[in-house]
Symmetry: none
Subunit: 251 residues, 2 copies
């Protein structure tokens, strides 16, 4: 098991439907030492009486679960987010196997960076809007003729692989001067740039706005900006939207 000082990944269930599945996921997590469970808009509210029995004793994980209205809030403090999906998506985003992602998570944890893995709704999985908030896609290489993982199975494979790949952890390296941006930084950047583009007629025709926003978020997300770089970019946007010849009014 990794040292307890290094951050462990958060398991983020996006709009989970059945309380039982939340319990099974908590049990799967704790089997491999994961405890940071986050629920985004659980369909039947929270707490859910069906979760406890399914957790088979992983009550501390359920009791400590964070509940959020939006995915943006749920991931605000994280530096890296993986979207778990077995589907091929027409999205330009790196695709890592669960093994590769686990190794990357340990490396970033050693730098003090925080990671989360998104798991979608039981029926419909993750939306493209959800995936647009992720750095990369995490896949479990299943039988191409029969890929049928349920939520708890997907969670346990991720938790197992994270645990397995962390056994020989290298010594933690020093924190870099300029750590990678948090998701709150990035969402701030998204909203800034989208808010500046909308009144300037960028999102045309209106029917394409959602896809254009997703493309833009994927592009900015994939760049791996640091927190300082995000602040620089926000300064750039502020300048670009200033009228030509206008004076700079503030810092």
């Amino acid at each position: 098991m990794p040292h307890s000082e290094t951050p462990k990944p958060a398991i983020i269930l996006v709009e989970p439907q059945l309380g039982e599945n939340i319990g099974y996921a908590a049990r799967a997590m704790l089997n491999f030492g994961l405890t940071d469970l986050r629920l985004v808009a659980p369909r039947d509210g929270w707490p859910n009486p069906a979760a406890g029995p399914a957790a088979s004793g992983a009550d501390d994980v359920l009791d400590g679960a964070g509940v959020f209205e939006t995915l943006e809030e749920a991931i605000a403090d994280l530096n890296h987010v993986y979207a778990s999906t077995v589907r091929n998506r027409d999205i330009y985003k790196p695709v890592l196997t669960v093994t590769e992602a686990s190794e990357a998570m340990h490396a970033s944890a050693a730098r003090g960076e925080r990671t989360g893995i998104l798991f979608g709704r039981e029926r419909s999985g993750l939306s493209n809007d959800d995936i647009a908030l992720a750095n990369a896609i995490l896949t479990v290489p299943v039988n191409p003729g029969f890929g049928s993982l349920n939520l708890a199975q997907a969670v346990i494979l991720v938790a197992f692989e994270w645990s397995r790949t962390g056994v020989d952890l290298p010594a933690a390296s020093t924190l870099e001067d300029d750590p990678i941006a948090t998701k709150a930084d990035l969402v701030g950047l998204f909203e800034h740039i989208e808010g500046a583009l909308a009144p300037r007629g960028y999102f045309r025709p209106p029917a394409r706005k959602r896809a254009m926003v997703q493309a833009l978020r994927n592009l900015l997300q994939g760049a791996g900006f640091t927190g300082q770089q995000v602040r620089t970019l926000r300064g750039v946007i502020k300048s670009l939207t200033r009228p030509l010849g206008g004076n700079r009014k503030d810092g």
Copy 2:
């Protein structure tokens, strides 16, 4: 996936109690290409109507399941048998992690030898008599404070690990339709953004302009944009510099 010519391990459920769990195990197996399911004295007989729905489409595995009265018969054709258990046993027998056992299985399969893994009763696990028929014990290294794997979870971890260790997984891939930007693309982007920023008072004081340009170029350079993404960004810059309420004049 390993070559279909080499034998794949059999999953042997010893006196399974619930039909649902047999179905879940079949589903877990087929996710990673395992199809040889063997049932020893299933408590409620066989076939069991509860198994089919739980298998979620892995019907061929259920239909092909072998049913045996004794464990001895179920393993008669096998060369190597592993007993899966998370418990410490007072039995002198080699103990392998699921990873070590998976690697050993591939090595023996390459020699044409057949392997099976025993999974015990939901309540009581494997008996010492069962374990006495095994070559070695297979363990999944779980959280020492919370080891609580159910039957299907134990099966899926074994099947996953067998699959994972049997292939040289392909390197992480991205969608290749959109190649990374050329340096000409990038320089075009640099000059576009710098040309838009300069008349809007971004580069102040003038003595810092060079350092600011370098920081901006490093930031954009490090992002690894594709050619298409650079074109998207140039559209964004064009929009941002348009006066508020102005009409879009060109594409």
